[in-house]
């Protein structure tokens, strides 16, 4: 028997494209706007969410039969908040430099609707292994969009990628800037993240017409 059955593989594959948490379910938009001005921040956030969602889904799934349905949302919140705070504390004690880069994201992870969404929609009704795969799939689907948005915003807004000046130096007027190219500062502001996400949604639905909702 294969390690991952066909049905389980769909759990990872679907959220990447046809059921992408950002472009199809339109969840996790807040963090997609907030931290995609830079490619590096997008990557860090994606990895953090991957970790928290994978682990959180497993924890919720293990607890699914004992969680009282009336307070399940609060229980989910507590689980994710506890996980994130513990990770933050451990990093602060043993990997201080790393924790300083990540501390900005802690608040954003706790309030990320994708995490609550997957707990609620999947982990509460499925076993730990399937929940784990679902968490990983959704986190990667989220990360792919985040990194794509971060890529375009940093490239067009600052003319850099991961801090490297790929288009030349805007002050010394080298590279593209020698021909009169200018960075578009508007790309660095949050509204442009929404527009970039909108363009991705548009392209995706043009390619796959079955995704277009009927009114």
């Amino acid at each position: 028997m294969a390690l991952i059955s066909k049905k389980d593989a769909a759990l990872i594959k679907d959220p990447l494209l046809d059921n992408n948490p950002i472009t199809i379910q339109v969840l996790g938009i807040c963090s997609a706007l907030a931290i995609t001005a830079e490619l590096k921040a997008s990557i860090v956030m994606s990895v953090s969410v991957l970790f928290v969602l994978g682990l959180g889904n497993v924890v919720i799934s293990l607890m699914r039969n004992i969680i009282p349905s009336k307070i399940r949302i609060i229980v989910q919140l507590i689980v994710v908040a506890t996980l994130v705070i513990i990770v933050d504390l451990v990093l602060k004690a043993f990997a201080y430099e790393l924790s300083k880069t990540l501390s900005v994201f802690v608040g954003l992870i706790i309030t990320n609707c994708i995490i609550m969404g997957r707990f609620e929609a999947f982990a509460l009704g499925n076993g730990p292994w399937r929940s784990f795969l679902d968490g990983i799939g959704n986190a990667v689907g989220y990360g792919v969009i985040l990194i794509a948005v971060g890529f375009f915003r940093e490239l067009l807004g600052s003319g850099t990628l991961l801090g490297f000046k790929v288009l030349g130096d805007p002050i010394e007027k080298t590279g593209l800037y020698a021909f009169g190219y200018e960075n578009n500062g508007f790309m660095l502001l949050s509204p442009m993240a929404l527009i970039v996400v909108g363009i991705i949604i548009w392209i995706q639905r043009t390619k796959n017409k079955s995704l277009i909702e009927e009114n």
């Binding site: 907030a34 001005a37 830079e38 921040a41 009282p68 229980v75 504390l89 900005v104 915003r153």
Partner: protein, 248 residues
């Protein structure tokens, strides 16, 4: 079918037990890791102060501290004196760098005298006066260390923040922003305190003009930049009387 987990009694007990478990787990983690975290923060302060006076491992574009393992030694080697200025009284203290600036600011608001730490360092025969600053950015606290010569001309600056937006306000701790402060004057020629403003569109993006009391702002980070200007004004101006005693 009514599930066992739906009853009010079960819900209450579950909530209480969950809060107890999570609460004690977090309390245990926090208190057992506290010494490590405190130590990390202490070393970081030393690294920050050293960074501002030019003791760092920067390469072309990165901002890199001296490594944590040698920070203590380097701090002893380069920082010759740590002063605490309290009104007219100036005392020396080896723990001045541990003074909590935020607390001192609150004290000052409540009418108590504020303790102003000042670190005097020497490197390559040059004397640096490093002062801490503390203020607020867009989301949360921002702070930093500014090193000056005896005429309050900036020799180096280090800024940090708690939760500014990555890619925008968070860039105050990038070299291209911090390095702009080097050589800027804080005092007018008449000797009055003017400060340095983080300004938009000052037509000097390369920052060649060191006498304009302005550095170029970061696009998309107006409020964080204003916070930097404000903390420089409010906190460094307090040191003017001390610097006056150096150049009578």
């Amino acid at each position: 079918m009514s599930k066992r987990t739906d009853s009010n009694g079960y819900t209450m007990i579950f909530a209480v037990v969950m809060v107890l478990i999570v609460g004690s787990l977090l309390a245990f983690m926090a208190s057992s890791l506290k010494p490590n975290i405190k130590e990390n923060q202490r070393i970081e302060k030393q690294q920050n102060i050293l960074y501002a006076m030019g003791v760092n491992e920067n390469d072309e574009s990165s901002a890199t501290f001296v490594s944590t393992s040698v920070a203590g030694e380097e701090f002893k080697k380069y920082i010759k004196k740590q002063l605490v200025i309290e009104g007219d009284k100036i005392t020396e203290s080896d723990d001045a760098y541990l003074i909590d600036i935020k607390k001192q600011k609150t004290n000052a608001k409540n009418g108590k005298t504020r303790k102003l730490p000042l670190f005097i360092g020497e490197k390559d025969g040059k004397t640096f006066y490093v002062a801490p600053i503390y203020g607020k950015g867009l989301w949360d606290a921002i702070w930093g260390y500014v090193s000056m010569d005896e005429n309050m001309v900036v020799q180096g600056a280090y800024f940090d923040h708690k939760g500014e937006t990555p890619g925008l306000g968070a860039n105050i701790k990038q070299r291209y922003f911090m390095d702009d402060f080097n050589g800027e004057h804080l005092l007018t020629e008449a000797g009055d305190f003017k400060g340095i403003t983080v300004a938009k569109g000052n037509n000097d993006p390369k920052n060649d003009d060191k006498n304009d009391y302005e550095v170029d702002a970061i696009a998309g980070a107006t409020i964080t930049g204003d916070g930097v200007s404000a903390m420089i004004k409010s906190d460094l101006s307090l040191y003017v009387p001390y610097f006056k005693t150096l150049n009578p």
